[in-house]
């Protein structure tokens, strides 16, 4: 049976009101796109400029050579090593403390005085400027413990500096794990510890990895906290050893030092080269940490994401 069509008073075409709203929509989308794109442009320009300046400095003798105090042609081999060494040392201290404290605060502590005090202390610690932290390290590790300038002193100072940030990240990562998962584990007769180690932490591993990557970037770039604790020179006799009590100038510190304090002839070359090497190291670490994080997530959750 054929149905008849009755013409309606209303139309399906856009009215003036709809057109106006769509223009707002279009403008907003464009503005947001431009803002987002500008971040990429700034970063790309920044990296491009650094590569342009630093590329010629990246010779084997620069990357693997010893630094020089006065004459030109010094390298940054030990500094690259020290940056990496202090990073690892700092992470060895920071990760267990921050994650344990985060687990305690988030999973065990009752909402009360003690929890508030810890939380307040962590937040206060987070606002301490790194130069103040460096002077504190100088006072404690260099003067009081008589360690002189050491990789260990530097790493412990950086631990103090980064602990609050990783603690915060841990708390947020844990609070993002739904309580229904904790309940499921407890309802199967799991203890609190089993629930935390087998369900909560594995579920939070992605966010925790991101947190570690963030603080690692800060550790690579940190100077003020290291100048008075890890020192401004490398160990000349054995620059690549594992002794934590050796002085250990990092790449970022070296960059600052050559530019402001030293009297080498090729300051520009060393500065530009160091900056580029630093950038590449951070990128390599970020990529490696993400690959590792993804592998861990895959292993724990059976899902790549």
């Amino acid at each position: 049976m054929a149905l008849t069509t009755v013409p309606s008073a209303r139309s399906v075409a856009a009215t003036a009101n709809v057109r106006a709203r769509k223009i707002v929509d279009y403008v907003a989308t464009t503005v947001l796109w431009v803002m987002a794109t500008s971040i990429i442009v700034v970063l790309a320009a920044f990296i491009g400029y650094m590569i342009y300046l630093g590329w010629s400095a990246l010779t084997p003798s620069f990357i693997f050579g010893m630094p020089k105090e006065r004459e030109a042609g010094g390298g940054v081999g030990p500094e690259i090593y020290n940056s990496f060494y202090i990073l690892i040392l700092t992470l060895i201290f920071t990760i267990p403390i921050a994650i344990s404290a985060g687990v305690y605060l988030q999973e065990y502590a009752r909402r009360g005085k003690f929890r508030e005090i810890v939380q307040f202390s962590a937040e206060s610690l987070a606002t301490v400027p790194s130069i103040v932290m460096g002077l504190f390290g100088l006072l404690v590790f260099v003067y009081t413990f008589h360690w002189r300038y050491t990789a260990l002193g530097g790493a412990l100072t950086l631990t103090l500096l980064n602990l609050p940030a990783l603690l915060r990240v841990t708390q947020e990562a844990l609070s993002s794990v739904p309580d229904t998962l904790r309940e499921a584990s407890m309802a199967l007769g799991g203890t609190k510890w089993q629930t935390i180690t087998r369900v909560v932490l594995p579920s939070a591993i992605g966010r925790l990895t991101t947190g570690v990557v963030l603080i690692a970037g800060r550790i690579y770039g940190e100077t003020a906290a290291l100048i008075f604790t890890a020192g401004l020179s490398v160990t000349v006799n054995s620059p690549y050893d594992l002794n934590p009590f050796h002085t250990a100038e990092t790449l970022a510190v070296h960059l600052w030092y050559t530019h402001s304090e030293s009297s080498v002839a090729d300051v520009e070359r060393i500065g530009n080269g160091s900056a580029l090497v630093l950038l590449i190291m951070v990128l390599i670490f970020n990529v490696a940490a993400r690959v590792a994080g993804r592998a861990l997530t895959k292993r724990f959750t059976g899902r790549a994401s």
């Binding site: 904790r182 309940e183 499921a184 579920s203």
Partner: protein, 266 residues
């Protein structure tokens, strides 16, 4: 409000089948009393349905049965709940053991973000089973009991989160039955599922009573009528009436029960 008669006395019970016996159970959240003097006998290898309007306390009561309130700060349970004659709130009772014997399935499927296999064997693993062959057997048995095996047997190492909602809920049932509990508590297990997935879960519950005692909270009176042997009607924190399901639905003794099941409130 009219004081309900002691309802447990009304069901003729063979003592041998009194699997879980709650007597005068009160549950408090802080100073708020959510459950008042609830008494209910849940018979072995039968389905007991807890029905009632939203906020009537049926979920609160269910969670008292495996001591889930232990996890809620400020929650307190009084009265006695006997599992095979032993008080699960007694001084020697351990929640880990109780929850091993009394499993639970939640309202929303909550599989762990792990593989299907790891979900199925989570319970046995945390209780100390390490033998891979034993775990494999448990996983297959549990997934078969949850009517999920055929759908997932070729992708046990895929993430449980890739399953559909209904499959996830059956996985949660598998995860519970993997421990061979004696009782399975279900908190509206099908409320978030479509009709086909719901009917699969309902069929499954029928099969589970061959081995397990089931206590199920449900919003749906049709569901209670379809799957349960006994029904308890909750209203404002009290058990108003309890009896064989067909009797509750055809000849309720209490006015409030009748009003509820005939749709006059709720």
């Amino acid at each position: 409000m009219i004081q309900s008669p002691p309802v447990t006395a009304e069901i003729p019970l063979d003592t041998a089948t009194e699997k879980l016996v709650a007597t005068d159970v009160d549950v408090f959240y802080g100073s708020f009393q959510a459950i008042k003097k609830a008494s209910l006998t849940m018979r072995g290898q039968h389905v007991t349905a807890l029905i009632g309007p939203s906020g009537c306390g049926k979920t609160t009561f269910l969670r008292a049965l495996n001591r889930m309130h232990d996890l809620t700060p400020g929650a307190r349970v009084e009265g006695s709940i006997l599992l095979d004659g032993e008080d699960i709130y007694g001084p020697d009772a351990d929640p880990v053991v109780i929850r091993h014997r009394i499993g639970m399935v939640f309202q929303r499927a909550n599989p762990f973000p792990k593989t299907i296999y790891e979900n199925a064997v989570y319970g046995p693993r945390i209780h100390g089973e390490r033998d891979k062959r034993v775990l494999d057997e448990i996983a297959e048995r549990a997934l078969r009991q949850a009517a999920l095996w055929d759908e997932v047997k070729d992708r046990l190492n895929r993430s449980a989160l890739d399953l559909s909602g209904g499959q996830q809920q059956r996985l949660c049932i598998a995860r519970a039955v993997a421990l061979n509990p004696e009782v399975i508590l279900m908190d509206e297990p099908a409320s978030a599922l479509d009709p086909i997935a719901t009917s699969k879960i309902e069929d499954l519950i029928g099969q589970l009573t061959e081995q397990f005692t089931v206590v199920i909270v449900t919003h749906s009176m049709q569901q209670a009528a379809r799957i349960s042997d006994f029904t308890a009607f909750f209203h404002i924190g009290e058990i108003v009436e309890v009896g064989p399901t067909n009797q509750i639905f055809t000849h309720p003794k209490e006015k409030r029960t009748e009003d509820y099941i005939t749709g006059r409130f709720g």
